[in-house]
Amino acid sequence: MSAIEVKNLSRSYGDIDAVKDVSFTVPEKSFTVLLGPSGCGKSTILKMLSGLEQVSHGTINIGGADVTEVEASKRGVSMVFQSYALFPHLNVKENIQFGLKVRKVPAEEREKKVAEAAQVVGLSELLDRKPANLSGGQRQRVALARSIVSDQSVCLMDEPLSNLDSKLRAEMRDEIRDLQKRLGLTVVYVTHDQVEAMSMADQIILLKLGEIVQVGAPEEIYNSPNSVFSAQFIGLPPMNILNLNEIDVSSLDSKIYSAVDSNKNIKDIGVRPEHIVFSKKGLPVVVKSIDYFGGETVFKLTHKEKDFFLREPRQPKIQLGDQLNVSWNLDDMYLFDKNDQRLKS
């Protein structure tokens, strides 16, 4: 059964169509990530799910009931905000139990729940602190605890890690994922960071300009992107997209050449940096820059005017300015048409 079912959802602000006819489902107890560049409507979708924002068109089902017109607090969702939205004049404990007090939960039960939630996120020692005296990570945990005590099965999160430094972000990623599994939560998580999406999601919903581009598990989107946008948004460095007019097609390996030549609709070919290898034959390139990351090396190469990347797990003896040739396996190549859509070969 799906926890959330969204049908033909749209939202416009005056002339701006922030969300255009979006439909998707979120399976129960799953971790779904809304991923896309800034301004693509991720937050707007999340706010419409929460009931904090009106929908222009479409319906939202949560837990089997149509909640399109239901007010926010009655939808059975909790939310973690980007800026945490902690009440600055209340201490950690008061912040966590704010909703319980509003709902007039008896004091005894309240104490128990707050203690439990604080335990889960490791805040038991800090219950008397004001938010101003907490670190970013601790504030984040308060926001999580507040969401946990609300006992809602659906939790919405809007870029909850964007204010943390990269090390803490990696830690909290694991922690949130772990929490979601342990408590059996259905999470809808907004981010523009593909690394977060790849490492946390059961399902990624990739958005662009208010529309869904592709829906699928992280591996699925990585392995079979349906468009240039998907191909380039996921993976770092992004997939190399080579326009056939920009490269010397005749220098390609014969098998690749015949694949490319067989279909006149092909405009671009795409190859991931990790799938390109230095070889005896193939595209002639000049090494333009080399970045060592320890575990891997990223080369920036130029072929005619076109720059692209090659990723190597080892550290080959190659220097700036070297003239080499590169190639790739036929199976690792993606073909795109003039509308930037994937062509199945």
Partner: protein
């Protein structure tokens, strides 16, 4: 640069301001204080040192007590009401409603008017029989009243007018305060099922406490400083029923020409205002406890 040269430079920069401050603030204050310790000079009697005599007669002067109590009633009558109205107006114009800019301006207009102009407007409201209030009362068959001529209604009338004038100014402070509160707080509270009322009392009002403290103290100071309207409306009458300390000082000095007594009154008022200002420093310094 050496420390000593820096210090000299600092003092040089400070000097022009210091001279102005000394000449126009500190020197007159000190002179006033000394004047309060001497009797008035007249053709018959020369000035003589009288010590605290002027202060003694102040504390036994029934009119002094009357204007002091009037001032306290004015403070009590205007401050809570104008703060309440200011918060309400700020909450309204903080919402994204159509015509918000116009409303903000409308609420702020009374504050921009000089007190004398305000008094003229309200003179028209309060005038017996031909005034707006009496005219409206007449329509509903009520008896009119000489609002400013009746000792029991004159102070309340002035209180109403002062609230009308001041609420707009305080609204601006509250609006600024409200805008520092992240809208996400309201969304978070809403999701938890918090009503508008609950959100105001549990979140907004406590977060506006520093603003309230600031407004409170300024409103208190204002209630002693604003007297311009008395010149137009009542001249402190009838029978000192609307007289205020500052206006009484003016009368004593320039109508009764009793400089010694006026000086004593001035020092009293100065002391009161200075204490309030100190309280402001003391409280407002600690207000940022949760930022």
């Amino acid at each position: 640069m050496k420390d000593s040269t820096r210090n000299i430079q600092g003092w040089l920069l400070f000097t022009p301001a210091a001279i102005l401050l000394l000449a126009f603030t500190h020197y007159p204050t000190v002179t006033t204080f000394f004047q309060s310790l001497y009797t008035n000079k007249s053709i018959l009697r020369p000035r003589r040192f009288s010590g605290v005599e002027a202060y003694e007669s102040m504390f036994s002067d029934p009119i002094f007590w009357k204007v002091f109590v009037n001032n306290m009633w004015l403070a009590l009558g205007t401050i809570p009401t104008s703060i309440g109205i200011a918060i309400l107006m700020a909450l309204i114009v903080n919402k994204a409603i159509p015509g918000r800019g116009f409303l903000r301006m409308a609420y702020f207009t009374p504050t921009m008017l000089p007190m004398i102009a305000v008094a003229n407007i309200w003179l028209f409201f309060y005038a017996p029989e031909i005034g707006l209030i009496d005219k409206v009362l007449e329509i509903f068959g009520f008896e009119g009243n000489n609002w400013l001529g009746n000792p029991s209604t004159v102070l309340p009338s002035i209180i109403v007018m002062t609230v009308w004038k001041e609420a707009g100014l305080f609204m601006v402070f509250y609006l600024a305060g409200l805008q520092t509160i992240s809208p996400e707080l309201e969304e978070a509270a809403k999701l938890e099922g918090s009503s508008r009322w609950n959100y105001f009392w549990r979140i907004q009002f406590p977060l506006l406490l520093p603003t309230t403290l600031f407004v409170l103290i300024n409103a208190f100071l204002n209630s002693f400083k604003l007297v311009d309207h008395l010149f137009v409306l009542t001249k402190g009458g009838p029978d000192n029923a609307s007289n205020l300390i500052l206006y009484y000082i003016y009368e004593t000095a320039f109508s009764f020409l009793d400089i010694s007594y006026a000086s004593a009154l001035t020092i009293f008022l100065l002391a009161l205002l200075a204490l309030t200002a100190l309280a402001q420093f003391f409280f407002l310094d600690r207000r940022t406890h949760y930022r």
